[in-house]
Each structure stands twice: as structure tokens, then as C-alpha cells.
Amino acid sequence: MTELFSAAPASLDPYVPVVGAAEVEELRALATPLEGLTVDMLNSTAVGGGVAELLTRLLPLMRGVGLEGHWHVMEADQEFFEITKAFHNALHGSAYQPGPCDFEIFREYNRRNQERLPLDSRFVVIHDPQPVAMIDARNGAHSSNWIWRCHIDLSRPDPRVWSFLQPYVVRYDGAIFSSPEFARQLAVPQYLFYPSIDPLADKNQELEPEFVAGVLARFGIDSGRPILTQISRFDRLKDPVGVVRAYRLVKRYFDCQLVLAGGGASDDPEGSQVLSEVNEAAADDPDIHVLELPAASPLEVNALQRASTVIIQKSLREGFGLTVAEALWKKKPVVASAVGGIPIQVIHKHTGLLAHSVEGTAYQVRFLLSHPEIARRLGEQGHEHVRENFLITGNLKRYLTLFLHMSDWNRS
């Protein structure tokens, strides 16, 4: 086990122009009773993936308001990660045939990590299923609070995997889920923490119009005509071919362009197959721009979102779908499928429009293109919705509130 994070605390001051001085003052007021308390956060990877990205930003802010936050990462070999990858897929509903030693290997790596690191902070937050058995390391006195933060959708888990993990989960003091839909019926309290975006990150920060124009020029996109955009991996569950079909229905009425931008095609055989299908569906339409972006292209994604007239997220299944929050933060009108965490972000007719089919998606896009004033209002309200609920400052606030609650703050 390695402690990754001991860098300088990050100040909340840069967030004042974004969320307001009152919100920042309130965060500091909430943190005051917790000053000096220790927090251990543990996950399975230091780079790549949303959890590592979140912890990279969250821990410095936690330290900045006076908590002693530590980030640890599991150490394990390939055999462990192959098993946990299979667990991950099985928890999302895929078929799973466990090997004879899978569960024991899982336990063994958790045991080794327990020996490497005493997780003795006042609050211990274990992220996702890989380190869930670390609860065995909890001391008998229960002088600390252990929390399991589940970032994945557990609504339809493989019963064998879930029945293996559940006895660990119920020994925690609470479990955190990203959506009520993702939660399970458990005997421990289940808290709702939305995933969050960082408004100061490259993917979300304000951009100069010249930069946005430059990105459009580089990809041959015309800034003078409506741009419909879906940002997502080339994955069938994101239904990019369905987006092309919806675009064609819109195109009968509006001289618009479609941008499908994302990664996942070069290192994933299924991704490249989906990309071929999308290119085939696009045929030789010069107004369809299929952009395979490198993994680290946050500024390009940001620019494409900011240049868009309407953002689409026509997923067939979805986790939380934070690309929706990214679009809303940029005050863009969004048309999205009512799946996964999307309806939490898109409050139908208030912060965007929901659809259930190709035809419905096309209709809602046409509606927005015909009513720019409504599109603008949805974008403005979507921006406020993100400010209130899906920013990293809100995530910090939820952790502070949870720690206060678990410290019996209001009962002391």
C-alpha cells in the first residue's frame, strides 16, 4: 500500500468567483469543527478512471479546509485486477463464472494490503469493490467510522458476486451511492453523493473564443451553422449510430452538423468496430464529423461542447453520465436519454429535455432549434443545477456533512 498524497493543501479561494463567497465561507464553517481530524481514502488505482481523478482534486481541498486527508492505493498483481474487472462487469449485470480460487485471491490481496497500512484515521473511506474487504482491518473498538463509497451501478448485480461482497459492505457504518437507482437494500445507512465536475479543470474552465474557433477550424466544423454534439466513447451503449439517425431526421428541417467525438476506439476492439459502424452510418455526409480524440484532450472536448448548439447524450445504458453535467455547466441545452443518472441531471423541461427513442431525440432537438429562447433558459437553469449539485465543492460539502453527522456534531 502506498500513500500517494501528501502535497500542499489547496485553497478554496479560486472557487469564490464560481460558487460565491458565501458558499466558500459556509464550507469553511462546516469544516471548522472537524479541523485536524484525519481521513484515509483508499482506492485501487492512482491514475486513470473517474475515482482517481476525483481524489486528485478532492484531497487537496479537504486539506485546505483543515482536515488531514490521506490517499492510499492498493498494491496488487494482474491476477487480482483480472478478477476485480470480472467482478465489475458482473456487478453491472454481465454473466460471470467464478474461477475456483477467485474469491480467495480477492481476500488474499486485501489481507496483504491490510498488513501494509494501518488505516487508523478517524474516518476511513473505501472506494469501490476492490478494497471492500479492507474492513477486516478495522479495530475492535470502533473508534473510527468506515464508509464504503460505491461509484458503480449495483441495481442488477450478479448474485454470486454480490452475495460474496455484501457481508463486507454491511460491516461499514454507511455506504455511499451516486444515484438512488444504483443502491441496494442494505441494513446500513445509504447516502446519496452525486459525482461531480471540477469547474476549474481543463475540461470545464472558461475558454477564449479564439481557442474555440481554432478547434472548430482544425476539425473543419462550420461555426455559422447549428452544431449537434455527442461526446462519448465509441461504445454501443452510447448509441452513436442512433445519434446519426436522429441527426438525419433533424437535417430534413435544419441545415445542421453533427459532431461525434470521443475515445475508446484505438485500444478497444469493440470500440474500433463501433467506430466503423458509425463511419458507415455517416457515409459521405460532410456535415457529420466523427472525431476520435486521444484520451487526454480535455481542452478540445471543452471547446467542442462550448461551440455546440445542442448537446445530445443518447445512451442506451449509462452510469451517472457526467458528460451531461459538463454540458449543462457550459449552459448548453441538452437532449438526453432517461437512463442511469441522466434524469437526475436533466430535469425534464427544466434543465434539459429527456427522450426515449431516436424519433423522440430528433423531435426534442428540432424543438430546441426552433425555440432558441427556451434552449437558452434550459441552459441557464442547467448551469444553476450543476452549480448547486454537481460541482466538486458540493462533493466536499457532502463529505464534511457526513463527517459532522458521524461525529454526532448536532448531538454534542
Binding site: 460565491g20 463567497a21 458565501a22 458558499e23 465561507e25 459556509e26 464553517a29 462546516l30 471548522t32 469543527p33 451511492f177 438512488p180 437507482e181 443502491a183 437494500q185 442494505l186 445507512p189 445509504q190 447516502y191 446519496l192 432517461a338 434524469p343 430535469i347 425534464h348 423541461k349 427544466h350 434543465t351 429527456l354 426515449h356 437553469q381 444553476e384 443545477h385 448547486e388 449539485n389 460539502k397 457532502r398 464534511l400 456533512t401 457526513l402 459532522l404 453527522h405 456534531w409 448536532n410
Partner: protein, 218 residues
């Protein structure tokens, strides 16, 4: 300027949302689950949705109405549920009874629609409130005004909306203080009439500041 008999202590409240083990998939199911749901869950989906979505000033009233509209496409029932004004209630029992009465009346007249499955289930949640005093209080209207200007949305919501059930009165913390600590009954009444459905928390706060300014000027 009048000095209050008791200072107004500004506080902020943060909310921890808990997922309850209850959900409804039909309008009829909502009727039944509303009977079993905790008071905290009813509070969360009515009073607290006003705070969570305060920036929506048109057509959003509570989570139940929004679900009936977005997941059932039943505008008639949605409109009736949305017409519920939480300011009329000082107990969750009364609010629960009215929600169930409206749904029951609708279900009797629209039997088929009441049994149709929603696009998305309604998941019951509740919130745990954690309050923390802010490092300032007010003893005069001028001090109060300065304090209100510094408040966050959560703090304003805590004093102006959530307080109604805490006080078990048709009022809020601000009006209560104006009336009891400063003897300003008229200001208390005018403050209590600020419309929390057609205002955002920011515009409601601005209205309050304007009322206080007028009182200071007189």
C-alpha cells in the same frame, strides 16, 4: 435604531441525503408508499425540493409533481400536486394526507393511468440536517441586513423555508425574530408573504433586503 431583546443567530445547514428502501413505480404505488414513508421523506420531497431546485421558478413545486409529469406524462395530476403550497402546513401529517387525497381522487377517476408503470421509478429519500452556527449574529435591523447579505443559499433556506416545520408555525425564523425580538409585526408579515415558489432563493433574499431597507428608512 431599535435593539433586539434577543440577537438573531445566523446558522447554516447542510444536508446529507439518505436513500430509503422504498420506491414507487405506479401512481397507485405512490399512493401506498406515501402512507408508509417517513415524515423525513415527505419533507425531503416537498419542503426540501424547494431548496434543491430553488433556481426553477416556473412550474416546479415538488418532486412528486415532477415525477408524475416527467415519468408518467400525467399533467392533470402533476398540476394538482404542484399546487400544494408548503406554507399552508405546519405538520407533515397534514401534508401527507393532502398528497394522498389528491392522488386517491385522481386514481379513482383514472384507474388505468394509475396502474401504468413509470418510465423511471420514484425513489424515496430523506435528508439529515446538520446545522452549524455562523460566526455572526445581529442585534439591529442594520446588522441583520448585513448578515443576510453574507448568507449562502443553504443558510437562507434553513432560516426561511425549513424553519416553518421546526417552529410549527405559519412563519419563518426571520419573521419570528422581527415580531418577537423587535416588535415589528408588519415587517414580519410582509416577510412571510415573500413567494417562495415564484422566487429563487437569491430573489427572495433580495426582496427581504428591500423590505428591511424600507423599514430602516422609516
Amino acid at each position: 435604531m431599535t435593539t433586539a431583546t434577543q440577537p438573531f443567530q445566523f446558522a447554516t445547514a447542510a444536508y446529507l441525503t439518505c436513500v430509503e428502501n422504498q420506491k414507487a413505480e405506479t401512481i397507485a404505488g405512490l399512493f401506498h408508499t406515501l402512507e408508509q414513508a417517513s415524515d423525513a421523506a415527505i419533507f425531503y420531497h416537498t419542503f426540501q425540493s424547494l431548496g434543491r431546485y430553488h433556481f426553477l421558478t416556473e412550474g416546479f413545486s415538488n418532486d412528486f409533481a415532477q415525477w408524475v409529469l416527467a415519468s408518467h406524462n400525467q399533467p392533470l395530476l402533476a398540476e394538482r400536486l404542484a399546487s400544494i403550497d408548503v406554507r399552508d402546513y405546519v405538520s407533515i401529517a397534514e401534508l401527507r394526507a393532502d398528497l394522498r387525497r389528491i392522488i386517491s381522487e385522481y386514481s379513482e377517476q383514472h384507474v388505468q393511468q394509475a396502474r401504468q408503470c413509470a418510465f423511471e421509478p420514484f425513489y424515496f429519500c430523506r435528508a439529515i440536517e446538520v446545522t452549524v452556527p455562523l460566526p455572526w449574529d445581529a442585534r439591529t435591523l442594520a446588522g441583520f441586513r448585513a448578515g443576510v447579505e453574507r448568507m449562502s443559499h443553504a443558510s437562507f433556506y434553513h432560516h426561511f423555508i425549513a424553519s416553518r416545520l421546526r417552529l410549527q408555525l405559519h412563519t419563518n425564523d426571520f419573521s419570528h425574530w422581527f415580531a418577537t425580538a423587535l416588535g415589528l409585526e408588519e415587517l414580519a408579515n410582509r416577510t412571510n408573504r415573500i413567494d417562495i415558489y415564484t422566487n429563487t432563493l437569491d430573489t427572495a433574499r433580495q426582496e427581504l433586503i428591500e423590505l428591511v431597507d424600507r423599514e430602516i428608512d422609516t
